[in-house]
Amino acid sequence: MEAYTSILLFLQVIAMLGTHVLFATLGGILCEKVGNLNLGLEGLMLLGASFSFYVALNYGNPWLALAIGCLASLAGSLIYAFLTISLRTNQVVTGLALTIFGTGVSSMLGKTMAGVSLPAQIAATFGARSLPVLSKIPLLGPVLFQQSPFVPAAIATAVLIYLFYTKTSLGLNTRIIGENPGAADASGINVTRYKYINVLAGGLLCGVGGVYLSCVYAGIWQNELTAGAGWIAVAMVIFSIWNPLRAIMGAYLFGAVRGIGFKFQGGIPFFGMKLMINAQILDMLPYITTILVLLFINLRKKKEYNPPASLGNSYFREDR
């Protein structure tokens, strides 16, 4: 029984640690499925995280904080969308600039917030709570539904996006744009409109991830709070082979490795002794894992595992 409790506890921690990465990964998938490589995920998360934290701290209203956090990352992705879709700038450079921009803005905004805790209303609304019925499901209940509502919301979003891509005509049109915008255009699909909507929606999800990270998970501001989670998400998009359901797996794998790091900070029990591992090495684990995962991903050769064929390209109808 004790073992069960500790496994449960560990799974809960995984879900907590993976949720913001899951949101950002889903955001990345939305962008890349319409052919837009978005390296600004990190910046968008930081925009969402810092603006929501600022509002939560100063006004104490959780919903307002969520709204403003989302608006901030929407604004960030609107800049990216306008540049890459309408002005057809290089997506890599534009995405990088967005990350630098988001990091800078969040640092500036965060100067006054460092080390201050959030008012209690925030945790009361967004903190862990048992959802009726669902929380009674064995295993899944405690792991997912006795947590912050953001945790099940992330999974629900992943499932919804999956259903959107596979079961709806709009989802099909979306996938066609990422593969071959010329074909989509010739079929009468409005490429620009789809691209804008998906890139903005992707930015919004990054923002939600940022809000969760600062207002729910951390509860306290520190500079560059995301610690590269946006970059991990860029890698997880590849790991998930652009499949929202596999993104759940990827994000929680990240959570698990992170969790292992935390667990063994006090040393690993070894025949009655304690093996101490340098804390920095434990902190590195998620990033090393990501690199290893990417190495393995590259071994897959199936055609369906390739990125959307027009990823990274701008589309201009009259190109010759």
Partner: protein, 526 residues
Amino acid sequence: MTADSYADNQAYVRMEGICKAFGVVQANQNVKLEVCQGEIHAILGENGSGKSTLMNMLTGIYTPDAGQIWVGGQNVHFASPQDAIDHGIGMVHQHFKLVDVLTVKENIIAGSSTSFILKSKNISREIRETCSRFGLDVGLDLDKKIYQLSVGEKQRVEIIKMLFRGAKVLILDEPTAVLTPQETTELFTILKRMRQQNCAIIIITHKLHEVMEISDRVTILRRGEYIATVNTASTNAQALTEMMVGRAINMDIQRRPARLSAEPVMEIKGLRALGQHGVESLKGIDFTIYGGEILGVAGIAGSGQKEICEIIAGLAKASSGSVIFQGEEILGLSPIDILRKGISMSFVPEDRLGMGLVAGMDIISNVMLRSFQKKKGLFLDRAFGKKKAEDIVERFEVSTPSVRHVLKKLSGGNIQKVLLGREVDLEPALLITAYPVRGLDIGASYHVYHVLNQQKEAGVAVLFIGEDLDVLLQICDRLMVIHDGQVMGILDPGKVTKEDVGLLMLGHKAEASATVDADHEEVPAV
């Protein structure tokens, strides 16, 4: 419908005074076109004559700078492809607008489904109904992925897609460019059936015999300008060429008898190789090539042509077999060593600039890419390069402002001349050339054939990988047909028919008639 009745008949599609410029290039200048229902209308013109531009305006991809378009008696202004689709205009592009990783069904309904939730069964039924309305057999598994289909099947998907959208006007851009003779026959059957259903069909082409075979009327364009519209029945191939090119052209490729070298230049035995996904791409290729002959290679795209070229040039690895060049094994040597031995390659992939040339550099640098190997010392000898480049420009009639002109600003034909010229200039013992006339106009194509013939007469062994069977049969001394990484036969072009070659290309060895069998092992008389 008789020829004269077109004049009385109200045209279903009418374009008048169409102009379109791209920068300084005037792609269309005051062009007109009239197409009736129940008609197959060919648009004939060389590369760069503005055929595709004209059609892209009819399908809403480009907007004309000037001119009027009427469809079904209504004056229309297309702002997007959707507008054109709404007016029943559908186009099958030369480079298919299909998504490889999606299924046939998904590609067909792209952008046209009215229900939010996709209902797979209903869609399949609707597609089948559409096809049967036109008397077409779907002949395809609708759940197959596009990349699993042959080229002919992909084209059929495009046609079905257009019919599914209710196209009354079907435009096909160079539809037979990549088809085998059998697939072409099948396509023409489909088109004739659609003509019976009162569709207006426009085919863009530069192949004269196809124009003669299938079209009711022809509109000829030259350098962006309208030349004439004629009834096919009242014209002939020679007259059409003259209108298309603007002057008379001698369309005979003279095949002079081969004077073979005593020893083979290259012998390939049991060549095997692995392709991209670990599938065997070459399954035991054997052939011998002598100096002073042109050995043609025919096959559907992707049958192993690229692999053969790359292995001979040392760019790819073989898993087994041997390549003996002038009595010496060259398998495993580096590309530079192979080049030094006298093997030259002018390989023209789908995009000419993909292999062998650097688009952003000038002609001199591109010429020197190869010839600097022969010079010693640390520094480049630009003067030597310049002289070479000027030689090539003169000998091959490359039209360019100067040899310092950046390559990508030249026209396709001129780029190809530079490539071929550079390789020939190295005075190789073996010249490998793949698709050397792709995208060239007629005049330039015949120039290339002439160069190949000259090389042959100079005693060079020429390996010519081509697509146009008519040309291959005319120019080659022997024709090797490959299918799926295997040699199906090495034929005497004087003794086989195009249909037999087509069957071999498809891998139907048994069905090809008797003339084909014997020669596989035959070495031509010296």
